[in-house]
Symmetry: C2
Subunit: 151 residues, 2 copies
DNA sequence: CACAATTCGATTGTATACAATTTAATTCTA
DNA sequence: TAGAATTAAATTGTATACAATCGAATTGTG
């Protein structure tokens, strides 16, 4: 490889020139901003996104949940046991297929939705993107995500 | 609050309507795509971004590194010991200030840069964003990141 | 039907992340 | 300058992530 191409390769290798880093750092920083609001709900971030899905569905298997959240049973099993311990969800084996673990909300878990409903606007207030920029970011992330998930 | 506003709040509470989720999922999916290439370098993702910074700087303190990567000593201390164990970096206390731990590359660590230089183009080949879209995504992420870090 | 293959969730092991605390070194200030 | 305040990294404890494997249940196939 030529000296010029090698220099270009090294330029691309800089932290600031790789798209992975702002994604990684932004994700962590956004999650950090959720923390004070989620503390009030007695939820961690991963527990929060789990509850977001539970609030949308009557009943869910661990597999379906994992597919929605891009998480496997190694992460979900202890997390779901913790949410059960907090009294927010129930875990029951499916009668039709004993391999499947079905997740449902408890009354307490369902009622937590009302408190959680104020979180998105509090987060939106922390960000400096216009609604157009946020929409563009959202669109680009989902485009990238759709392709990454397939491969 | 009116019924209409409550319904709007619940709509915003859906997983797909919160910007945090595609950020979180994209970050994880991108890192997953790095893995086969990083395995060849005997680096994890966090070790890789640490080496990216090391390849840019002669010498660095843990504090400076943490500031670049948005990571604290709780994460970095074991990670840096691991990189030292692999023979990629040296850890030495500063003579001028014994509190400071200075990081430098070993010869092996420095030479790893050449192998690593091929990674960015391999990753770029996995994504479906045009260069304009990638540039826009990059710009939006850094705008958001800049503001989140300040607060 | 028998049994191989697949599926689902749990478990194990390794590596982050990060809050909170600790320890040692340095700097500030009365 | 002695003690207080601050700083840097290490340590501790909790909670993810995820690869690899396991065990039980179900499905597919000859």
């Amino acid at each position: 490889m030529s000296k010029k191409n090698k220099a270009e390769e090294y330029e691309q290798l800089k932290l600031k020139n790789q798209i992975c880093f702002p994604l990684y750092a932004c994700s962590k920083e956004v999650i950090r901003h959720y923390k004070p609001f989620l503390d009030e709900l007695n939820l961690t971030y991963t527990q929060y996104i789990t509850m977001l899905v539970m609030w949308e569905e009557e009943e869910m298997s661990v597999k379906e949940l994992g597919s929605r959240l891009c998480l496997d049973s190694g992460t979900l099993t202890p997390l779901l046991k913790s949410l059960e311990g907090k009294g927010f969800i129930k875990r029951t084996r499916s009668a039709a297929d004993e391999r499947v673990l079905l997740l449902t909300l408890t009354e307490e878990g369902a009622s937590l939705k009302e408190k959680a409903a104020t979180v998105p606007s509090k987060i939106a207030a922390c960000t400096n993107l216009s609604s157009e920029e946020a929409a563009m970011l959202y669109k680009l992330l989902y485009k990238l995500l759709g392709q990454l998930e397939d491969t």
